[in-house]
Symmetry: C2
Subunit: 258 residues, 2 copies
DNA sequence: CGCCTTCTTGAGGGTTCTCAAAGTGGGTGG
DNA sequence: CCACCCACTTTGAGAACCCTCAAGAAGGCG
């Protein structure tokens, strides 16, 4: 149950950071409570302080902001293995809400347990920090996307990003996966209207770049889609940085921090 | 010299985190090298790994991304006291560049020194993490801004944000400060063209909301500007979170998802 | 003085929005 | 089982916002 979810979170951490056997064990032994949230419901209500982080286990979630006129704007999307609220450990008053995109399964992890790991292990502190930095890197790319790229390229870029993240999370391949969002939700992720999203999707279909069957999406020419969206995966930080103290992936020992 | 810059950085950390006397001392004793960068020059070149973080001391800097067609897009702006590259400690291969907006003075702080602080003090690790989380919070707001807000509101929001950040950094008041960017640079921060930026600026001037004299900008009706930009300062995390039993700052109660 | 960047103004065109409505599918209750 | 409702998907037409191209005015710097 929670083993699977925590293992996926640990895998995500190990992709970018090195942890010792005991540190890995500490991650896997984090207490967590299962939480099921129906589509369109909030897992985090905007403005209400939280005392736990949210690990996505199945389904997708989104961080959103709400404007005065009521229309919502998705600023980040989270897939299985993402600790979508890890930053709340250091900033527990969220200005944003977290919404389930479809029916989504979370695991709640108490801040106190996470804080204890941070206080006891500099390596875990660094790993957590690096994990939220990865999210920030994606945010920065989204800022750029909405700036000076038009909707067709923006959609292509988003699909490419999701394909790699889902492949990494092992819930699909980069050319074939479930797109667990409705077109209105996709619109909020792109910063355009639902009507326009529909037209742009049709353009991608008519270009034979993608095809959809229910929630499944198939990418027929990933490279061409990536060129259309000017997609460069570097910002996803899927390559582990080579650093002096870092061990190769899967290493069982780690030099003590000095 | 470097005292002043490090003190400003420490003040920024203390605004959101608590540090002991020895931890504060350790921050102030960080080794750093002065670096002057002329307008439009890069302090960080995209793709080139760095071994130091950059503390802005005087002037403004911007993090930018470059599209294939050559046009640049500013995803974050940094003012004095901001450690604009702190995340590079955990992600040293930047996908982005950092550019001086006007002539800007930085102090370079070696990653090794910062990492040593992180390894030896969980409180400092948490403070650094929280600092980059603040930057991420601003990024998220920028994503929202570019999504479903048009250029007039976007500009109003940006001016409000900068006014509070500069007031915090003590390089101006919230109604009167130096806007150290050209209109083309402002355009890159808004995700519109320079021509359109000029027209929108004139709209703000003709509405008697702002006036400019050289680089100085005066905000005549801050509250009205904030309403125009639907500006809510919560995302700047200027309120230090309480240890436990947090009160939502400026949060209006929101009915749970319908 | 000449050059460069920035600031400003104008006109036309393109992307995206708004409003509207019809078709589709899943869920619920009679 | 069917009717009903609701949200999602799709299509159309006109309008609004912003872009592109162009060119003149203003200011800093050698």
């Amino acid at each position: 149950m929670s083993h699977v979810a925590l293992q996926r979170f640990l895998d995500r951490l190990l992709l970018r950071s090195s942890l010792s056997a005991s540190e890995r064990q500490a991650i896997l032994e984090l207490p967590c409570t299962r939480l099921r949230v129906d589509s369109h419901r909030d897992a985090v209500v905007p403005g209400r302080p939280v005392d736990h982080a949210l690990l996505v286990s199945a389904g997708w979630a989104a961080r959103y902001d709400q404007l005065a006129n009521g229309c919502r704007e998705i600023v980040a999307v989270y897939v299985p293995g993402d600790m979508c609220d890890l930053h709340s450990v250091v900033a527990p008053v969220p200005g944003w809400g977290v919404q389930a995109l479809g029916t989504t399964e979370f695991f709640q992890v108490p801040h106190s347990a996470l804080q204890r790991l941070v206080d006891n292990s500099p390596a875990i502190a660094t790993a957590f920090w690096r994990d939220t930095t990865t999210d920030a890197s994606i945010l920065a790319k989204w800022v750029c996307n909405r700036g000076r790229r038009q909707s067709l390229g923006r959609l292509a870029h988003l699909i490419c990003e999701l394909s790699l993240r889902l492949e990494q999370a092992e819930v699909g391949t980069r050319t074939h996966f479930k797109l667990l969002v409705t077109q209105p939700q996709l619109a909020e992720m792109l910063g355009v209207t639902a009507v326009h999203t529909n037209r742009v999707l049709q353009m991608l279909r008519q270009s034979r770049l993608i095809s959809t069957l229910g929630p499944m999406i198939t990418i027929h020419d990933w490279d061409r889609l990536a060129r259309l969206g000017e997609f460069d995966p570097a910002y996803l930080l899927l390559e582990k940085p080579q650093r002096r103290r870092d061990q190769p992936f899967g290493a069982t020992t780690v030099t003590a921090s000095e």
